[in-house]
């Protein structure tokens, strides 16, 4: 199956060993989109490399960018000012909603429901408009800078976010009406691709996939970054770790993200948006690992500095790459039709898997 197949979300190639239509073994062949991001990093300055991380998970560029900026800030031992942190939180949560919407649309499409895709894109469009107004780009935003933000929030940002959040509440209900109680949807997702909590941890799976397996772990709560420690939100968890649970968890996550956005716009602190960092960044020698909760799971940056303007080594822990490893475990014993459901439910972006 693949690399050119309509439902592998990019250029994933999956070798399946079948017994009739039943899968008894699988192997993912990846790397079709490898661009050597980590090598590029070694030949760029810290700031120059920031836009490259947007090209990894291109449907959640803001989150990747936040992780990188915070990792370098940690390496520099500086902190972004509170105003910048709150704006970062708002944009990252919007990005989470956008990413989950894209997932929902394509996942539903894989399972054969045509319509949710367009509903999801309608809302995602609103989010992308906010991004565009904020920084001029829709997908590969490069929204944040090391040390803070480059752009001050535009005048109506809060209003736009608020309006979006208001509309979004009923829109989620709309998606749920189409899918949650739908017999066919339940039939296609319940009991499909079960991943137990023990397996999930062993495979290093993170994000909604881990939470659907019943592990209540979210870096936003466990090791708060940006401004997450100021807001109240719940971590939804599943029980069985099947595709249906992952669906429910992501739906609930969108609701929670919406709540975080609403809390954040209520009180955006004033003040500078850029921390005290110089034009030339020369982090003291040493190394740092910093991870944030991206929409797809833990995105970690391991950066080694040798004291020059260029990073000595940047390693990225891409959630999609690690989560995809669990695919084999999830797919065994299922039918071919479930393979696409399971690929969809892991929510991979090949740009991030291959880097």
């Amino acid at each position: 199956m693949g690399p050119q197949h309509p439902s592998t979300h990019g250029v994933l190639r999956v070798k399946l060993k079948l017994d009739g239509e039943r899968v008894i073994g699988s192997e993912c062949i990846i790397g079709y989109l490898h661009r050597g991001v980590e090598k590029i990093a070694e030949n760029r300055t810290y700031q120059q490399f920031a836009p490259y991380v947007d090209r990894m998970d291109y449907v959640a560029a803001v989150s990747s960018g936040l992780g990188y900026c915070e990792a370098v800030e940690k390496l520099l031992v500086v902190e972004a000012p509170p105003r910048a942190r709150v704006i970062r939180t708002i944009l990252t949560e919007l990005q989470r909603i956008a990413s989950h919407l894209l997932w929902l649309g394509t996942h539903a499409l894989d399972i054969g429901a045509l319509t949710p895709l367009f509903y999801c894109f309608r809302e995602r469009e609103e989010i992308l408009k906010i991004f565009e107004k904020y920084c001029g780009a829709r997908l590969t935003t490069h929204a944040f800078r090391i040390g803070g933000l480059q752009y001050e929030a535009y005048d109506t940002l809060e209003k736009d976010v608020e309006r979006f959040c208001k509309d979004f509440e009923s829109r989620i209900v709309e998606y749920e009406t189409l899918l949650t109680q739908n017999r066919i949807w339940i039939g296609r997702t319940k009991g499909v691709g079960i991943l137990t909590a023990a397996d999930a941890i062993a495979f290093g799976v993170t994000g909604p996939v881990l939470r659907a397996s019943g592990v209540k772990w979210d870096i936003r709560k466990a090791m708060p970054y940006a401004a997450y420690d100021q807001y109240k939100f719940e971590i939804p968890v599943g029980t069985t770790g099947d595709t249906y649970d992952r669906y429910l968890v992501r739906m609930e996550e969108m609701r929670q993200s919406r709540l975080i956005c609403l809390q954040a716009i209520e009180n955006i602190p004033s003040g500078p948006i850029m921390g005290k960092v110089g034009k030339v960044l020369k982090p003291p020698p040493g190394e740092v690992y910093h991870a944030i909760e991206a929409p797809k799971g833990e995105i970690g940056y391991y950066i080694v500095s040798d004291g020059t303007v260029q990073p000595y080594r940047v390693h990225i822990r891409p959630p999609s790459f690690i989560n995809l490893q669990a695919f084999d475990r999830m797919v065994r014993g299922h039918l071919v039709a479930d393979v696409v459901a399971i690929i969809g439910t892991i929510d991979i972006v090949l740009g991030e898997v291959d880097r």
Partner: protein
């Protein structure tokens, strides 16, 4: 393992909470002046870039956990340090699997977040294989490092954390470090016929290209 899924207590500093209590005189000064002086150093006085050395970011780590660890493994622990409040242990390569099992089962570092490598060509053992492990129960991260020279094999931890499978393959792909005991060690991101290991510092980006030109066109590429 599901019973460890209880919500971790919000700890602000990932790994620093223990060392902060056990070695306050070291970690507190290293944190505070770093905040104040590190940003001041690069931008304001560009000429005297020298006053940076006083900022101590790497400190030796010596807390309860390290003591326990040292008691158990003794000489296998080559160095315990802390960098920007993140704990790092450099351990003996040969005993990696044993240590990994201990960390997973006894110290509850049940998830391997990340496995990668760094190449330091000038050192006599050029490769550092870096494992980032995480404990749900303690909400702590720990970095484990082993050193390896060019032809030395590193024991594979796939048996301990299955997630290491692809990550070790990636390290093999990019650095050419061989993991002994890995079930299926082959290139993962790069094509199978790729020459060389791109993330080594001495990898020449043109090497593949010139080789291809020489082979297929019979001329020197001249790049």
């Amino acid at each position: 393992m599901a019973d460890e899924s209880k919500e971790p207590k919000p700890v602000h500093v990932p790994t620093g909470d223990k060392p902060a209590s056990s070695t306050p005189p070291v970690s507190t000064p290293s944190g505070k002046p770093a905040d104040a002086s590190a940003p001041a150093a690069p931008p304001k006085p560009p000429a005297p870039a020298a006053p940076k050395p006083p900022v101590v970011l790497q400190t030796p780590l010596d807390n309860e956990f390290v003591t326990r660890f040292r008691a158990k493994f003794g000489a296998a622990l080559l160095e315990a340090m802390e960098d920007r409040k993140q704990a790092i242990l450099i351990v003996e390569r040969a005993r990696l699997v044993e240590i990994a099992l201990h960390l997973r089962d006894d110290e509850k570092f049940d998830m391997l977040s990340d496995l990668t490598a760094v190449d330091w060509p000038k050192r006599d053992r050029r490769f550092e294989v870096v494992l980032n492990v995480y404990s749900f129960a303690k909400n702590e991260r720990l970095r484990l490092k082993v050193l390896a020279a060019d032809a030395e094999e590193v024991p594979s931890v796939v048996g301990v954390w299955p997630t290491a499978n692809w990550q070790e393959r990636e390290v093999f792909d990019m650095f050419g470090i061989v993991f002994s005991g890995h079930p299926d060690l082959k290139r993962i991101l790069l094509p199978d016929e790729w020459q060389g290991y791109p993330l080594r510092k001495d990898y020449d980006i043109l090497q593949q290209d010139t080789a291809w030109v020489r082979e297929n066109l019979g001329i020197e590429s001249g790049q």
